[in-house]
């Protein structure tokens, strides 16, 4: 395997409302920031993650290329998934050996529509989508299957929001209170905030990584796994695919100081901790995680970026970034980063 490291990470100051910026306008500042930080203006490969249904416009990711400087032509790809999977594609591309750097970004504006029902459109069109099964409803089904203690769930939300308030990029959300339910057993405070935002990461190999960054965050393991789409074919109380991905990425080969988990609901954090076999010594989501800022299609990439940032700033030596996609954690991607 070629040595690949995250050498730069940038994210927007996420907002809970639509600022009216176009997608290229949203993305351009973070692209500029990672270019400036690395000194690179061209990359061997570029890959993005986004979802056209968020904006309701076909090929919205194509217009987003206006933020990049794509002329003369660049080598570019896109995944209709969270930007974390764009990072995976870029990592695979770097393994080919002919290019040494890659730009990865993810972006999304959840403010434009009703995310809860837009998420229904990702479901299979024969058995699930016609029922109108929405994002909060299927998450609540999984929450009930997990059957976690309410106090533990409340504490996860409280901790996430508190950490988010000290993260300048996340939202300032108040101490959770109120007992109202969204879809039982999910409380309204268990629901991640609607968020607009974007993030960008630069990957570089070997010597280039060391030249571009004082403390590169080396990708020592990366893997993703998926489960059957249909909820009734799975055991919702476990995340088999997250556990498989964690094993394949080698999470358990050393201590994990920080894990940034793509847990949009507090019960998902409990599931993922178990699946990744994270002990009490591992700090979970010091950024506040998705419960403090959830720019859909960038949230997973930000987890990897936040995990890398701990290594860039010397705060940690071994961290884990996790991303998820699909209903009830259908797909899971796990990245192990080391200084």
């Amino acid at each position: 395997m070629r040595e690949v490291a995250i050498v730069a990470f940038a994210q927007t100051r996420h907002t809970a409302h639509d600022t009216g910026l176009t997608e290229p306008e949203l993305i351009a500042p973070v692209i500029d920031e990672v270019k400036e930080r690395t000194g690179l203006t061209r990359f061997g490969f570029t890959c993005s993650g986004s979802c056209d249904y968020l904006a309701g416009a076909p090929f919205s990711f194509v217009s987003a290329l206006d933020a990049l400087a794509a002329w003369p032509p660049i080598s570019e790809s896109h995944v209709e998934m969270d930007g974390a999977w764009a990072l995976y594609e870029a990592w695979v591309r770097l393994q080919h050996g002919d290019v040494d750097s890659a730009l990865v970004y993810g972006f999304g504006k959840s403010s434009l529509g009703d995310l809860r029902t837009i998420m229904t459109l990702q479901l299979d069109p024969y058995y699930l989508a016609p029922l109108g099964l929405d994002q909060l409803s299927y998450a609540a089904l999984q929450a009930n299957a997990v059957g976690a203690d309410r106090k533990e769930l409340d504490e996860i939300v409280r901790r996430s929001r508190a950490d988010g308030r000290s993260n300048p990029y996340a939202l300032d959300l108040p101490e959770p209170d109120g007992e109202d339910f969204a879809v039982r057993p999910l409380k309204r405070t268990d629901v991640p905030p609607l968020t607009d935002g974007a993030a960008a990461i630069v990957l570089a190999t070997g010597d280039l990584a060391r030249r571009l960054c004082a403390n590169p965050a080396y990708v020592t393991g990366i893997a993703h796994r998926t489960e059957p789409h249909y909820l009734g074919m799975r055991d919702l109380a476990r995340s088999v695919s997250a556990a498989d991905a964690a094993r394949a990425a080698g999470v358990g080969k050393g201590p994990v100081e920080v894990a940034e988990l793509h847990a949009q609901f507090p019960h998902e954090e409990i599931l993922l901790r178990r699946a990744l076999e994270l002990g009490g010594d591992t700090r979970i989501n010091p950024s506040g995680g998705p419960l403090a800022a959830n720019p859909v299609m960038a949230t997973g990439l930000i987890r990897i970026g936040e995990a890398a940032r701990r290594i860039h700033d010397g705060a940690a030596n071994r961290t884990v970034g996790h991303a998820a996609g699909g209903p009830c954690l259908q797909q899971n991607l796990v990245t192990v980063l080391e200084g």
């Binding site: 809860r116 299927y138 059957p228």
Partner: protein, 299 residues
């Protein structure tokens, strides 16, 4: 529509909807649904997938061509409760989402469940489908599921004619005059009300009636939350009242006082209906109301 000229509404819609081919496996399932049957498909390993998929998610192998009728009843494995249904949801009243393992299936079906009472929801509950009137070959041919029948309501009604004779007739004649009539057992020295012909303790005859005061003390009471035709409203208080000089309390309603102000030891007096409305009936006593005297220490 937003009134800000810089804000526009944008709709993404495919008029009439997409036409999708179902393939043979899903097509068979939907055709069976149209005929009000639920089938699963058998995998090479012998498991029955409901709803059927073309490939076994456990192995990636194509499923066999063998279909097995399952259900129609099943068991809930997990659920979520929707207090406020969305427009696209199958039911327009509060309902549950449920994963339902139909009898004979090895996997669970996702569908809506109307349990009637959300408190009835639990993993393991047995449910049956409710079919739509005109099935078309769609997952919504099953309108929703409902709990298995485990109880029925049987109505019982018989009519009787009761006649007050003997001591009760004497007592009610007193009530018609606005007087509580009791009787003293000369052997036990206990005063009973209503009047009775013999002492329930020693069996001695009680030949004479005794006129009793219509004031007394509450010894115990209950706050009733079920409506009663005699009570003015819900909740209401019914109480044991020990009429002064008697030894046995009688039961009556308490009125003219907030239910939570009623207490043991409270002094009360009967509130009689106006003389012109009186009959030989306990309806003569509307209820007992506080007298305002100090409470009595109960022994």
């Amino acid at each position: 529509m937003p009134s800000d000229p810089l804000v526009a509404q944008h709709v993404l819609e495919f008029p009439g909807g997409y036409t999708r081919t179902t393939g043979p496996v899903i097509g068979r399932f939907l055709s069976e649904l149209r005929a009000r049957r639920i089938v699963g498909v058998r995998t090479a390993e012998g498991r029955v997938l409901v709803p059927p998929l073309e490939y076994d998610p456990a192995t990636g192998e194509p499923v066999t061509g063998e279909y097995a009728e399952v259900g129609p009843a099943g068991t809930v494995t997990t659920w979520a409760w929707v207090d406020e249904p969305l427009d696209a949801h199958p039911l327009d009243r509060p309902f549950a989402w449920a994963l339902i393992r139909l009898d004979g299936a090895d996997t669970a079906l996702v569908h809506a469940l109307d349990p009637g009472d959300p408190k009835a929801l639990k993993a393991g509950m047995r449910v049956w489908p409710v079919w739509r009137d005109r099935p078309t070959g769609h997952i919504t041919d099953i309108s929703h599921f409902v709990p298995e029948v485990t109880k029925i309501v049987s109505n019982v009604r018989a009519e009787y004619r009761l006649q007050a004779g003997g001591a009760l007739r004497v007592f009610l004649a007193g009530i018609e005059r606005g007087v509580f009539l009791g009787g003293r057992c000369e052997r036990c020295q206990k005063v009973y009300v209503p009047y009775r012909l013999s002492c329930p303790e020693c069996g001695a005859a009680i030949p004479e009636t005794l006129e009793l005061p219509d004031t007394g003390t509450i010894t115990t009471f209950a706050i009733n939350n079920l409506p009663d035709p005699r009570a003015p409203q819900v909740p209401f208080v019914s109480a044991y009242i020990l009429l002064d000089t008697t030894d046995i309390p009688l039961i009556a309603l308490i009125g003219d006082v907030p239910v939570h102000a009623v207490r043991q030891g409270m002094r009360v007096r009967a509130v009689w209906v106006p003389e012109s409305e009186r009959t030989a009936s306990m309806a003569n006593v509307r209820w007992f109301a506080p007298t305002g005297e100090p409470d009595v220490e109960l022994s």
